[in-house]
């Protein structure tokens, strides 16, 4: 279940387990499997699966998409991480179901049925299935290389690369800031967070704000000294390799989408079979 409500900080992005997020450059042995796909093919599948399930509103269509995407996520062979993600998602789904049940008691015009929840839940599960392979296995440098390969304009590439480059740095900074607060004697427990949320935000994020400004100043100077400017010709020295298996992955994703559409057309557009 994914509640889309914020500026891109949806819940499913925050609960990816079992992964040292935003780690560095070298691949881990357990990532070799998914690394056999180029990052661009995985990106395509993620992007495609982000919007396509919205168009499908039949149970059969969603079931096809879920099955295909579930096989894709299982191909990671990170069963523990997948299981934890599913447990978190089920927790949120249960919460949503309880809430919906509560609403149905208050507003009889909105009757509660598990069946009507099926399609939205499957949509959420499909998204989780396609997000996990990208988020659990992509190394940051791999993304930077992929960005280069996309031949983006200067005004997109530079801030994108800077953003990706500094996410790990800032995470490390925040860890350091919270440590220095503990050293100083601040209580960073939940109680204090709830009693003085603004003070805690100030303590944690003021250094980050100043650090952001200083970093941007220093990096801007470095950019000038490296001669970066719009209109310059960018030639990547290393390009990601698109293999046959990447084409196969893209074709399989498209085939699953077509099959889902066929199922929807063949068996109708109702949310669940019982409703037909």
């Amino acid at each position: 279940m994914k509640i889309v409500s914020e500026q891109g900080h949806e819940a499913s992005s925050c609960v990816l387990p079992g992964r040292k997020m935003f780690s560095g450059v070298n691949p881990r042995p357990d990532e070799e499997h998914s690394r056999s796909f180029d990052v661009r093919s995985r990106m395509f599948v993620t992007l495609f699966s982000s919007f396509f399930p919205i168009a499908v509103s039949s149970f059969e269509g969603q079931a096809v998409l879920f099955d295909a995407s579930f096989l894709y996520v299982l191909s990671l062979r990170r069963y523990r991480a997948v299981a934890i993600s599913y447990a978190a998602m089920l927790g949120m789904m249960t919460l949503a179901a309880l809430f919906t049940w509560g609403i149905s008691r208050l507003v009889p015009a909105m009757p509660f049925s598990f069946r009507s929840l099926t399609v939205p839940y499957l949509r959420g599960a499909v998204m989780l299935n396609v997000i996990l392979p990208l988020a659990l296995t992509c190394r940051i440098q791999e993304l930077l290389t992929a960005l280069k390969g996309l031949h983006l304009p200067f005004c997109i590439y530079i801030p994108g690369a800077v953003m990706i480059r500094f996410i790990p740095t800032f995470m490390h900074d925040i860890r350091q800031v919270s440590e220095t607060l503990r050293i100083r004697g601040y209580d960073l427990g939940f109680g204090e967070m709830f009693r003085h949320p603004l003070m805690m935000l100030r303590l944690l994020f003021t250094p980050l704000l100043f650090r952001s400004l200083r970093t941007s100043e220093e990096l801007a100077v470095a950019a000038e000294l490296k001669g970066l400017e719009a209109g310059g010709r960018f030639v990547p020295f290393r390009s990601p390799v698109w293999r046959g298996r990447d084409t196969m992955l893209v074709l399989l994703a498209l085939a699953a989408a077509l099959l889902a559409l066929y199922c929807q057309a063949r068996w109708g557009a109702s949310a669940v079979p019982a409703m037909r």
């Binding site: 990816l16 919906t100 949320p197 950019a223």
Partner: protein, 180 residues
Amino acid sequence: MIRDLFRWSAQDLVVIGVFAAASKVATLLVALAGGGMNPISLIGKNLVFTTLLVVMLCKVRRPGTITLFTTISIIVSMLLLGASITLIPAMMAGALAAEAAMWPCRDSEGVWNCVLGAAVYDIVTKLGSLAVSWLLMRENPAMMLMVVPFVAAGYLGSLGGLFSGVRAVRELRHAGIIRQ
């Protein structure tokens, strides 16, 4: 003038990239610390995000900043964090509305035009995200009622962020880091 809109200095681009990273990390960590659906953490992460947005707009004073910031955030969120493409319409609508709101006073040097931009961005994004939520859950409208309080809590945080953004800019001026 149109050509100028696409000519960015490396300095401005770097500031936008650094702030996009800072806002992503800060909001992610607040969400992780408090749990994604906790109202306090929803308020907190929106507050931090809007504060950083106001400061960035004060630092990079040129049309297109918020649109570029949004574009970069979307691209990296999708690539790195697997954010949904469904967020794009709401965020882009918010960014474009903010640009339009800031355009008449684009040469103003004060903080209030930046606050206006951030406020418009927040409200349009929140309304847009409600619309997207409806699309995703249209089979069960009751679930929409669950989304509304969370979006409202987030918006409360955004409102707080406008005030803390002004305070942060004042403090940065006191520290001599942002100059009027």
